[in-house]
Amino acid sequence: MKISLTINGREVSADVEPRTLLVHFLREDQGLTGTHIGCETSYCGACTVLVDGKTVKSCTMFAVQADGASITTVEGLADNGQLHPVQEGFWERHGLQCGYCTPGMIMSAVGLLQEKQSPSEDEIRHAIEGNLCRCTGYHNIVRAIEYAAAKMRGEEPPPPDWEEEEVSV
């Protein structure tokens, strides 16, 4: 089946089997391997992309459903080598370890910050509930998103909370 869509600002036409999942279309046909697959039950969120501006799990959408849509993947966030504030926040606040959940996590954070300029910690935690991370315990992901939110508001991000020094008694 023929589909036409916009991916990271680029117009794309392709012929796909109806059963092809959007995530496989992005990864296998378009070479956009930044969008990852971690499960098949729509729980892990590693495959999160923006479809028409909304975060969606691309493993739970057929490519044919995206006909006519505009899609942003993690590869489409940085602008001429300039990291998106959320990407910068993840780097600055150690919001990633293995990096596998990171693209999906970043897309969810981008989705959140589009809607809320100053999310509370609780709002951040609930906003990324659909993205599983097995490495970080989420602590630094929350800090990363707080960093990005501050940056996007034009404010100085809060300082990191890791401790450089030991406690002696």
């Binding site: 109806p18 799990k57 459903q65 509930e129």
Partner: protein
Amino acid sequence: MYPRQFEYVAATSLDEAVSALAGAEFAKVMSGGMSLIPMMKLRLLSPDVVVDIGRIPGLDQITDAGDYVSIGALVRHAQTASAQNLPRALVDAASWTGDVQVRNRGTTCGAVAHADIAADQPAAILALGATMVARGPNGTREIPADDFFVDTMTSALQPDEILTEIRIPKVGGATAYDKLGRRGGHTDYAVAGAAAWVQKDNGTVTNCRVALTGVGTKPTLAHGVAEALIGTDGSEQAVKEAAERATEGVTVLEDLYGSEEYKAHLAKVYTRRALTQALAQL
């Protein structure tokens, strides 16, 4: 992870969708696809034809129709969760459905039609006494919520019918939904939950409907609770006593998340909590 092959129909009108359904041996309707696609990926379900209603215009609105508020077939959970003109029970149920991405894509009508035993919105729909509007080859019919949920993942919809709209009556009173999620709090599917609608007049409860989710084979009305509460003053004691009857006539089922005894207990707890929250608004 890899669904079997199927024929894909991107319907542009309800008529087209209905005729595509009618012509197929085994067809499934897809709106958001949040329940259907995972089942297809696990090959638990392999329809010959998938009829995508996602492109049909005019179905993505929550509209005030005078006596009722209409939720179109393509209204996403996120829309329901932020609606100003829907009862709180349904708004909360929608906001605790899945996660952000699921709520951005999945639809309220889809979740209701899927009739998962642990889903949130079906309980709210049932407590609110909503009406389902189904379109099939013989035209449109209305199905009261009380008759809609038939069994585990089985609704009164025929295979050739599409749930096009849910009508939430504007009956006044107050509503609430509360649940215990599988990961605690309100997170994830409901281990058990209850939606409540109550009306009070001159200090007396005049009307009440409570629906349970998670505890049995389907979202179920707790008739005994309503019976017990109507006519009382809705006091803490009255609510407590009424809630004791939550599982009357309900087949409580054990699952990974709770024994029969525990689930029956939770049904009472959440009935009480939902009623208390609803009454507090009056």
